[in-house]
Amino acid sequence: MNLEELNATATSERLARAKKRHHIHVCVGTACQALNSEQIAKALQAELKQRGQSHDAEVKCVGCPGLCSLGPLVEVESRVNGQATTDAPEEDRRKSVLYQFVKPEDAAEIIAHLDGEPVKRLETPLDQPFFTRQTKIVLENCGKIDPERIEDYIAAGGYQALMKALTEMTPQQVVDEITRSGLRGRGGAGFPTGLKWGTVAKADPNAYPTNVPEGIQSRKFVICNGDEGDPGAFMDRSLMEGDPHRILEGMAIAAYAVGANHGFIYVRAEYPLAVKRLRTAIRQAQRAGLLGNGIGGTAFSFNVDIRLGAGAFVCGEETALMASIEGGRGVPRPRPPFPAECGLWGCPTLINNVETLANVPPIIMKGADWFASIGTEKSKGTKVFALTGQVVNTGLIEVPMGITLREIVFDIGGGIPGGRQFKGVQTGGPSGGCIPAQFLDMPVDYESLAKVGSIMGSGGMIVMDDTTDMVEVARFFMEFCMDESCGKCIPCRAGTVQMHRILTKIQEGKATQRDIQILEELCDMVKHTSLCGLGQSAPNPVISTLRYFRDEYEKKINGHHKSKPNGLSD
């Protein structure tokens, strides 16, 4: 497919779409699917057919629109006047109704009300802050398009950015555009994406000994890190499920920019739906000539394979991830050399997180300046968060960098349920920290979060109310890290076990002041001596809860295990 064909496909899709008066979107993300949403879609379709309205309305299975706590969600988009025209912008003439907690048996009522008043008992307002306070870039297609149809993605402007990069820009211009946009890695550490791309683009594929398997014709690689593993995080899953082509397009642009011809998506096997949709997307893109050899009629070739992770948290660490792709044991190795110089099979390798790559097409289409105008001075664009815990609205949100925690928790999140008080919010999962109420008005950006002892992380955001036992929170995350430690380096392997043991002792009322001291020494040592990010960040939940909620620890301490003076001089 070249640019003309791409445009033709987009136009014919939009025309076909304009012919229907009603577009019914049923969320088939993992959460809604688990609540039987595919049955809802079938029931709606059957109902349309029975009523002879199939020509007038269509049912579409879409990705996650975000408000998971109200799922299964069904959105009905209807044309306001009866005329089918194609000249005016479509959105202007449409209105939407959102239905919550839909069951298959509600189908008849929903269809019956298509032309009349909405079904009041199911309706939830679309003008609530949860929706109005968000800024959607990465998630703009999620909940709007059918992730299993490439035509839907193309109709929404998909693959235009890739064609623009391939036909109008040099690889260096692409790197420059990303650099100027200020985009930073969304996997957690916030490394400047353009800098990484530039390093891989410049890297010499022959600098290190390589052993690329036969059949792979690439000496540089692009890897999409979809090994999302933080407890309570589902941003990348929703993206892969809801808009898989967006990720492929981002990867292809990245590959063009750095000079790679092969890419891998590393995704955990616990995400079967994401894997299925990515596989479908790859197949469709290949068939459309948007992946493979000679993309869009240019000389550029790029193939993508999927590699399934077996669910080890450490495989989200880039060197462990590469070891896993190579077929080895998923354990990290010391850096340098960094993957950008010596990565997969010894070749220069670009590893970006799912969300990072999903930001790429709009930056190419709308320009670096547009992107850089969103967010704060050092943190540009938006961030997707998985909002969970003791908050009214749980689900997936996308907000501009620099928004305050208070806006996220109380406006978008709807506050704390059950009349309880807000106590803290954990960002960055087991690698992050717990932020207390005093910082609610702090802007959410990489630097501010780090300053208060947490991290941006990949986007998990767990809200806690005043009933939460903070020592238990620390113990929970330490148990996670202990269980997920790969065992290669001693501080992480054995240190997490001892820290967990002390935290358990504190919970059982068997710990002394001396144990807290040993715990703090261990936190310091494990943080500074561990081989990879897993161990280096494992103490963070303990450090931050000790910093802000030390009284909760002290209350559980059983006496003072102190020596008396023994009268010896040194």
Partner: protein, 237 residues
């Protein structure tokens, strides 16, 4: 290309392809190690050789970090000493290291490390895991109680013997050295019984059958000799 750097204030020169550890050793500056063994590739796992380098906010493993011009390295700060002692204590608490009944008593790198870091006691709880002993091989034995998971045996078997009989199973504290696909050592068909793993082991985890307390003698130097002989055709040491 020669590089000039300082280690603990002492000015030394090294080749650009040398690691801090190699440069330090040539200058007779001792940096403690456990997972390093001459003749095997380095993995940076034990963290005993971490050093402070001016300008780096992170501690760097001397075994895998190349020297650089003007580098200022410190190997014996109070902080590093405290960390090393903690690491050794963690190892002693992790499995069942009973020097008094060990074949390697008096000839053990872990025991030596405990002395070097001044470990007069272990402040962590001993975990006392229940671990097995594999005596199925006719000449050698493996006692997991004494294993510190340094993977020197894994690397010796893979890189010097080319058999790759040995690897690691499981993760975290449940990691375990295994033979083939976790079969008793005596049934591992890929094992050539060369004994290089036994030479490589820093503790009494791998031993020759028939040796009792403190009888173990080891030939770790032979591995470096083999590597030098193969790579550089140097046959006289």
């Amino acid at each position: 290309m020669p590089r000039t750097l300082t280690i603990n204030g002492q000015e030394i020169s090294a080749r650009s392809d040398q690691t801090i550890l190699e440069a330090a050793r040539e200058a007779n500056i001792h940096i403690p190690t456990l997972c390093h063994l001459d003749g095997l590739t380095d993995v940076g796992a034990c963290r005993m050789c971490l050093v402070e380098v001016s300008g780096s906010s992170k501690l760097l493993p001397a075994c895998t970090t190349r020297v650089q011009e003007g580098m200022e390295v410190r190997t014996e700060t109070e902080r590093l000493r405290a960390y090393r002692r903690q690491i050794i204590e963690l190892l002693f608490a992790e499995r069942n290291h009973v020097c008094a009944v060990c074949v390697a008593n008096g000839n053990c790198e872990l025991q030596d490390a405990a002395i070097a870091v001044g470990m007069d006691h272990v402040r962590y709880d001993y975990l006392f895991p229940k671990l097995g002993l594999d005596l199925s091989h006719e000449r050698f034995g493996m006692d997991h109680n004494r294993c510190i998971l340094c993977t020197r045996c894994v690397r010796a078997c893979d890189q010097l013997e080319g058999a790759h009989t040995i690897d690691v199973m499981g993760r975290g504290a449940r990691s375990l050295i295994i033979h083939d696909m976790n079969v008793p050592w005596g049934e591992a068909t890929t094992c050539t019984s060369c004994g290089k793993c036994v030479m490589a082991c820093p503790t009494g985890a791998l031993f020759k059958q028939g040796s009792t307390v403190a009888e173990m003698v080891r030939d770790a130097d032979k591995l470096a000799f083999l590597r030098a002989a193969r790579d550089r055709k140097v046959w006289n040491v």
